[in-house]
């Protein structure tokens, strides 16, 4: 079997230079394996040969990620290994961040397969999990003996171009990739089996994990509606005709605010939808079908509530990142609160 040439990245501690007092050291290149590198060699039955070890202090790396990663990739380019390995970093945040950024940079710049390993709490995980394979470890070096074979095994598979298994089989953090696989049993059968397990209180593994959303304690209600200022907000993409602020049809990068203080009705001549995720015919025909201004004005005249706020806020809620939507909501909420609005009606499509 052809030997595998490796460059290995370590911090000052695993690089056997020193502890926290040496965390400021600049990146340096050493010949041959050091510490964990010996273990990598051993666990690969001597197939993996660490040609060079790069060592950098945790503080220096974390504070100069761009500089260190470009130097590291320059060195790696000169050495031309088959694979670049970093860590494992376990729960060490600065180290984990450095490992992830080094791997990501080397792989993206040079196309050399790169992988690392760390604990789920490490901020390095989210820094690069989508781009590279990061093996999940325990939170301390006690897990070293279990993790190194995993790193070596996965690296070998990548190099041998063997299909990579699912995250839980191989032990890496999910990268958010979707691949088609042929299952032995059809979907309905799998679903019923899962349901039966659930009913029996047995462990089962979902095929479609749902994102976790947090709950908010309900705000105090509007106490006197007849005296309240109410605002309209929509995620349905209603904008003045021509979309003057050029809000995106999907994954909107912003929210907009438009004056409606002089309007009693939204017409298709003056407004339209900019949303790219639903059939726009009905909304373009009568935008009140998404942003109910005409009915709100009538209720205002009837005195059901005191006043409709003079502006409406809008965005396009179409594959918009949860984090962006949360920010838009928070900012809109704070602005409306400051403007003396007491209640919000939000429509979504």
């Amino acid at each position: 079997m052809k030997p595998v040439k490796v460059v290995h990245y370590l911090n000052q501690f695993f690089g056997q230079i020193g502890g926290e007092e040496k965390a400021g050291i600049h990146p340096q290149l050493k010949t041959g394996p050091i510490g964990v590198g010996q273990l990598i060699k051993k666990e690969s039955s001597d197939r993996f040969e660490v040609l060079q070890t790069i060592i950098c202090g945790d503080n220096y790396a974390a504070e100069h990620l761009d500089e260190v990663s470009s130097l590291v990739s320059k060195w790696v380019e000169e050495i031309q290994p088959d694979v670049f390995l970093a860590g494992p970093a376990f729960a060490a945040g600065r180290y984990g961040m450095a490992c992830s950024v080094m791997c990501k940079t080397v792989q993206q710049k040079l196309g050399i397969p790169s992988l690392t390993a760390m604990h789920s709490s490490n901020p390095g995980v989210d820094a690069a999990r989508k781009e590279i394979y990061i093996i999940e470890t325990g939170d301390s070096t006690l897990d070293m003996k279990r993790v190194i074979p995993k790193m070596v095994g996965l690296a070998q598979k990548i190099l041998d171009k063997v299909p990579i298994g699912m995250p839980q089989e191989e032990g890496y953090f999910p990268r958010g990739l979707r691949i088609n696989v042929r299952a032995e049993k059809r979907g309905s059968k799998r679903a019923v089996e899962m349901l039966l397990k659930k009913l029996r209180g047995e462990p089962f593994e979902t095929e479609l994990p749902l994102p976790q959303f947090d709950k908010v304690v309900p705000a105090p209600p509007v106490t006197n509606l007849a005296e309240a200022v109410i605002a309209l907000v929509t995620e349905g993409g209603i904008v003045p005709k021509g979309n003057p602020d050029r809000i995106e049809a999907h994954n909107a990068s912003k929210y907009c605010k438009y004056f409606i203080g002089n309007k009693n009705d939204l017409t298709g001549e003056e407004y339209q939808t900019a949303h790219g995720g639903y059939d726009p015919v009905y909304a373009n025909d009568d935008p009140d079908r998404v942003l109910p201004l005409d009915a709100a004005r009538l209720l205002e005249k009837e005195g059901v509530f005191a006043k409709l706020y003079d502006y409406y806020y809008m965005t396009v809620g179409n594959v918009t990142a949860v984090a962006s939507a949360a920010r838009y909501g928070r900012e809109i909420g704070e602005l409306l609160l400051r403007e003396g609005v007491q209640g919000v009606i939000l429509t979504s499509t």
Binding site: V216, P220, Y278, V322, G333, V344
Partner: protein, 76 residues
């Protein structure tokens, strides 16, 4: 969005067609809309009737804003 508006202390009701999504994302006050592409309208009915329908939906939503709730609530 509606959840974050509510988080700053402003009661906010969401009119949306897919109630389970509103529940999953954590909206506290929910009113079921007419349909995804026209949450507050119905192109199949006459204009006057459609406005009445829209007013009715808004009345339900406004009622939702005035109620003291302890958990996620779908108003009808």
């Amino acid at each position: 969005m509606v959840k974050e508006i509510e988080r700053v202390g402003l009661p906010a009701v969401q009119i949306c067609a897919i109630v389970p999504i509103a529940l999953t994302v954590g909206a506290n006050r929910i009113v079921r809309a007419i349909a995804i592409p026209h949450p507050t309208g119905d192109p199949k009915v006459e204009k006057e009737e459609e406005i009445e329908l829209r007013k009715k939906l808004l009345r339900t939503a406004l009622k939702g804003l005035t109620e003291k709730i302890l958990e996620q609530t779908v108003f009808k």
